[in-house]
Symmetry: none
Subunit: 523 residues, 2 copies
Amino acid sequence: MKLVRIYDATLREGSQAEGIAFSTEDRLRIAEAIDQLGVHYIEGGFPASNPKELAFFERMRDVRLEHAELVAFGTTRRRGAKAEGDAGLRLLAEAWPRSVCIVGKTWSLHLRTVLRASREENLRMIADSVRFLAGHGKQVFYDAEHFFDGYRDDPEYAKATVRTAAEAGAAVVVLCDTNGAMLPAELGAVVADVARLGVPLGIHVHNDSDCAVANSLVAVSHGVTQVQGTINGYGERCGNANLVSIIPALALKMGIPVLAPEQLEKLTETAQFVSQIVNIALSAHRPYVGRTAFAHKGGLHVAGVEATPLTFEHVDPAKVGNESRVLISELSGKSAVLHKAREMGLEVDGDDERIGRVLRRLKEREHHGYQYEAADGSFELLLRQALQPHEPFFRLESFRVIVERLETGKTSVEATIKLHVGGERIISTAEGNGPVNALDAALRQAIIRCYPHLADIELVNYRVRILDEAHGTGAVTRVLLDASDGEESWGTTGVSENIIEASWEALVDSIEYGLLRGEGLCE
Amino acid sequence: MKLVRIYDATLREGSQAEGIAFSTEDRLRIAEAIDQLGVHYIEGGFPASNPKELAFFERMRDVRLEHAELVAFGTTRRRGAKAEGDAGLRLLAEAWPRSVCIVGKTWSLHLRTVLRASREENLRMIADSVRFLAGHGKQVFYDAEHFFDGYRDDPEYAKATVRTAAEAGAAVVVLCDTNGAMLPAELGAVVADVARLGVPLGIHVHNDSDCAVANSLVAVSHGVTQVQGTINGYGERCGNANLVSIIPALALKMGIPVLAPEQLEKLTETAQFVSQIVNIALSAHRPYVGRTAFAHKGGLHVAGVEATPLTFEHVDPAKVGNESRVLISELSGKSAVLHKAREMGLEVDGDDERIGRVLRRLKEREHHGYQYEAADGSFELLLRQALQPHEPFFRLESFRVIVERLETGKTSVEATIKLHVGGERIISTAEGNGPVNALDAALRQAIIRCYPHLADIELVNYRVRILDEAHGTGAVTRVLLDASDGEESWGTTGVSENIIEASWEALVDSIEYGLLRGEGLCE
C-alpha cells in the first residue's frame, strides 16, 4: 500500500494571506485541532523570522501532540557564508523539534535577480545547509522553491538541486510550484521525470491557476510521498493547496489511507473550526465540508438520494463529517419535509394532515419571498410549530427604533423593546451602531436573566437581499442571519418591505432556535 | 491551431446554486456581459421548465448579441413516447435559437432507480430526440449526464450512448461529471478512450472534488473541443467548472486562443460584474480576478516583481484585466482618474495637484469599504467636488427616522428631515413602507419645489451588501442605489456601520447627481 504523509503548513503559509494574523493562542488552538485530525507534520513557523514565532515553539515544548510532529522552518545559509556561522541555521539546529524544513533556490532567474548567487554557489548553499542540519540529528525536508519554473528554464540544473539536497542527507525533497503557474498535465510529466532520480519527493503548490488540489493529486499519482498544503487553502495571493480537499480524495478515491476513518470524520469540524479562528466565513460551496456540499434541491434529486445516495453524491458525507441536506425550496415536496422532520427527531408519517398544512404554509411564505434553503433554523421552528408547539419564550408587546442624524453630523441609534417574560413586563432600551444591532442589544438585555444560555449565542453573519430590486427603496427585503452557540450554527430569515421588520423577524427566530437548545430559569 | 469553444451555463446552472435567483432583468444584464467577454455559446435556460425562462427567450429575440449564440436547454423525450409528441422537445424545435442542448442518461443506476427505463429504450430516447431536433434544422449539443459514473459502471454502454447521439446528428457530445466525482488522472484516461470514437466532444464538470478547472483542462488536452462552465463557478452544491479560471489557462498557458486578447482583458471586470448582480462577494483570493490574486506582501517579492514581474507572477495580470497590487502606483490610478475626468468633459492634466488629492481621497474611502465600480455617479461627484465644485443643492441640518412595531402587530415608519434650500429652512415629515423609503419621500417633498426635475428621477434598484459579514449585526454595510431619469441611469453608494446612514448617503448622491442634469428654480 502506498504511504503518503500530510504536511500542514497553515501556521506559516496561512499567515501570509491577506487578512490573517495569528496570535500565539490561535496558533496553539489550530495546532491542536490539526493534530486531532491526524496529519503527520505541522509546520510551526519560521523561528528566525520573529520572536513571536520563536515563542510559539517554546510554548509547544509542553504540548503533547498525539499524531503530528512539529516542524521548524528556515532557509539555506546566506551566500558566501558558512552553515555553522548562519544564525538562522543554528537556531534550527538547536530548536527542539526533530524535523526541520529549509527552502532553497532552483530557478536561475531568481539567482540572478533576487539572490545574486552563482549556480554553483547555490548548490553549495543547499548541500552545506542540509548537511549541517542532518549532522545535528535532524530529519531534514528540503523545499525546492520555484522548482517547476526552474525546470522549464533548465531541467538538468533543477534536477541537480534535487540530487544535491538528497545526497547531503535530505529525507524528502519537496518540489514547489511557488508561483502557482502549473497545469496538471505538465506538472505530472515533470514529477514523473524527477521521480526517476529515486529521491523521496514531496509536493507544495500554490493555487494561482485554480489547480492546486488537482496538481497535488497528480503528483501523488506520479510517486510523491509527502503533500504540503494548508487547511482551507489559506495562503498568499490565491492560497495554497487545500488539504481539506486533498485528504478525502487520497483516502476515499485513491485508496491511500492517509488518515484513519474516524479521523477523517473530523474533517468538516476541523475546517469550520480553523475558519472560525481566522474569522473568515467558510464558503457554503466548499467541496466535502461546505454547508451545501451535499445539498439537494430538485424533487427528483431528493427522491434519488433517498433511494440510493450515490445517485447524486460522489462520496458518503458522513465519512468526512458532513451531512446531506435537503434544501427546502419551491421545488421540494412532502418527501423533503418528512425527511427534515425525521432528522429533527419528530415522529410523523406521510398521511399526517399536519404535513399538508406545513406544505401550504411553506408555499405561501415562499410566495412572499421567504427562502428556507439557508435558513434551517426558521424552517425547523415553522415545522415544530405545526407538529410540536412549545410555549413562546417571551411575548413582544412593541418595539421602537429611532435613528437620528444630528446637526453635528453624529448619528445616534436607540431601540426600545416592551415585552413579557417569566411573568414580568420588561421595558428595555439600548443603543447600537445600527438599528438592528440596537434591537439585538435591547432584546438580549430584556431576557438574558431568564435565559442565561443566550450569552453563548452569537450572531455571526448578517446578509440582506433586496427582492425585486427594480422597485428601488420600496422593494421587499429578505434578511438572513447566521447564529452559533459554539457547538452548532443555524440560519434564520425574515422578509418585509421594511428592513427593520425583516431583521427583527430573523433575529427573534435566531434567538428562539438557540434557546430551544438551552434551559430557561424563569418558567 | 486547436479550436476550443466556450459554452457558458451561468444562467441555468447558476440559478441552481443556493442563494441565487435571477430576475429577467438580471438574466439580460448577465447575458450581455458574457457576450461582451466573447464566449461562443450562452445557455439561456430551460424554456419548458417555467414561464419565466420562456419569457427570457422572448426578450432575447430583440437583443443583438455580438459574439455569442444563445442556446435553449431541454431533455430527451419521455420514456415510451414519441419525440414529436413531447411538449418540451416541440418547444425547443420551435424556439428561435439555432442551437439547442439536451441532456440524457448514461448510467444504468439512474435508468433503474430514477428514470425506470431499459438500456435499449434509453438509446432510442437519445436517438429520437437528437434526430427530431436536428431534423428541425437545429445544431444539437447532447449532454451525456453522469457520463463518467456510467463509464465506470459499463464503458461499452456509456460509449454506445455517445455513438448513438452522434449518429443521430448531435454536433457535439458533452461528457458530464454530474456528481463531480472525478480526479484528473482517471478523467483524462476516460476522455482519451472516448475520443477514439472520433465524435466531437465537450466537457461539463462539477466541482465536488475541487478539481473542476483542472479536469476541464485535462479534457481539452485529450481532444475535447467544447468546454461548459459558469462565471465564477456558480452552480449547485460545490459549483460548476469556473470559466473565469479555465479561459485564461487555455489562452495564456495552453496556446489555445479562445478569446481575443482585448476580450480576455475584460475577464476581471466580467467576473466582478456578475458577482455584483448575484450579490455574492467574490473572494479576494480568486485566481486571475481576485483583488489579491496578484498582491505581493514580502519586501523581497515587491523588489522581485518590480525588477522582473515574472519572478513572482504566473501571468501578466493586465492580460486578464487585473493588476499587481504593489504596482498600484499613483500612475495607474492616475491614468484612470484622468480618463474619467476627460470623459466628464473636465479639462485637467496629469500634473494637476488636485488629481493627487482625488487619488488620496479615493484610497482612503476604498479602505473604508467604498467601491466605485458600480457607483459611477458617486465617483463622478467625488471627482467634480475636487475639480469643479458646485454650490450644494441643499444643506442638511438633521434627520430622524422612527420605526415602531405597535401592539397591534402593525408597523409604522416616519422620517423627518430638516434642511435649507433656496434660502429657506424646511421641515418635512413623510411615512414610508421602510426607513429608506420614508427618508426618500421626506427629502423629495422638501426640495421638489426648487427642483421640479426631481419628479423624473426614479430609484430603480437598491442593493445592500454586508462587508465583513462575520461581525453579525455590527458589520459594515455598503448600499448601492441605481437611479434613472428616463434618459440616463447612474449608480451611487454609501458605507456605514448603520444601514440607514449608508442608505442616506447613497440617496443624497443619487439625487444630487440627477439634479446636476436638470435646472433649479430657487437659486
